[in-house]
Symmetry: C2
Subunit: 159 residues, 2 copies
């Protein structure tokens, strides 16, 4: 393996670890537990799972990986705060959406070469990437990994 | 810049973004606000800052970057839970410890080549690194970045 391949795999492992830990915690939650809030007046676990699923689903078009699986989640879990709109999916369907989105993303990331990680994404212009080549696809995936860790830290408080 | 240098810089940016956001939030907190808990019966913000400072300080020997700056924080903020022992530093001294530790770490990371990121650290054996070369120094820094994001998500709840 070359150094650049190894750096890509190491970064991908970071995503896989965070998603894998979230998977384990989510699998252990009952439908009732998913309705718990992380703290008084803060988001429900259900909302956080919907939010992360929607934000990760947006990566398909952003990284050029095909069509979104669940665009219907944005309005409920990204545009609006918790409680504004009814949950459109059952707990088991939401768990399935989470698994489908992350499974398909991870499978795509596993095929990435160093050049794929360094390539342009849909939210940066050619000129901006040329000016700052760290605004690449790896930066996006590491940012989403940190975002998932951020909400994982909140979700754990509901235990 | 080579691809491998660029991958290293992109990953380092992820660390810098997370630490930078924490810096900004921490700078805005008064001494009184630092005593707030992230949720009822959960850690105080003060404890979380001490915890992250201690865990990051441990990176100096782990990554071969020299002596620790604040080994005295481990017993209070790593070994014991919040409330077990008195805070050994004032709020302003703790803020300074956080800034000193992360500033010195980031300055060291900025000198890392691809080979430095891929090198062995003190918590992995030569045999284990040979078996799984992703258990390198980059993996450690990305893990600490996710850990800082995890607690940042909790800290924000105290706002």
């Amino acid at each position: 393996m070359t150094n650049e391949e190894l750096l890509g795999f190491t970064a991908l492992n970071s995503w896989k670890l965070v998603i894998g830990r979230f998977d384990q915690n989510l699998a252990a939650l009952t439908d009732e537990q998913l309705q718990k809030r992380v703290a008084p007046n803060k988001n429900r676990l259900f909302y956080l799972v919907g939010h992360l699923t929607a934000v990760h689903d947006r990566l398909f078009p952003m990284l050029g990986l095909g069509e979104r699986l669940h665009p219907e989640l944005d309005e409920i879990y990204v545009t609006n705060p918790d409680g504004a709109l009814a949950d459109p999916l059952s707990a088991s369907d939401l768990k399935k959406a989470w698994t489908d989105v992350n499974g398909k993303l991870t499978a795509a990331f596993e095929t990435f070469t160093a050049l794929d990680w360094l390539a342009k994404h849909a939210a940066v212009s050619d000129a901006d990437l040329a000016k700052d080549p760290t605004r690449n696809r790896l930066a996006v995936v590491l940012s989403r990994t940190n975002h998932a860790s951020f909400h994982s830290g909140q979700a754990i408080l509901a235990k």
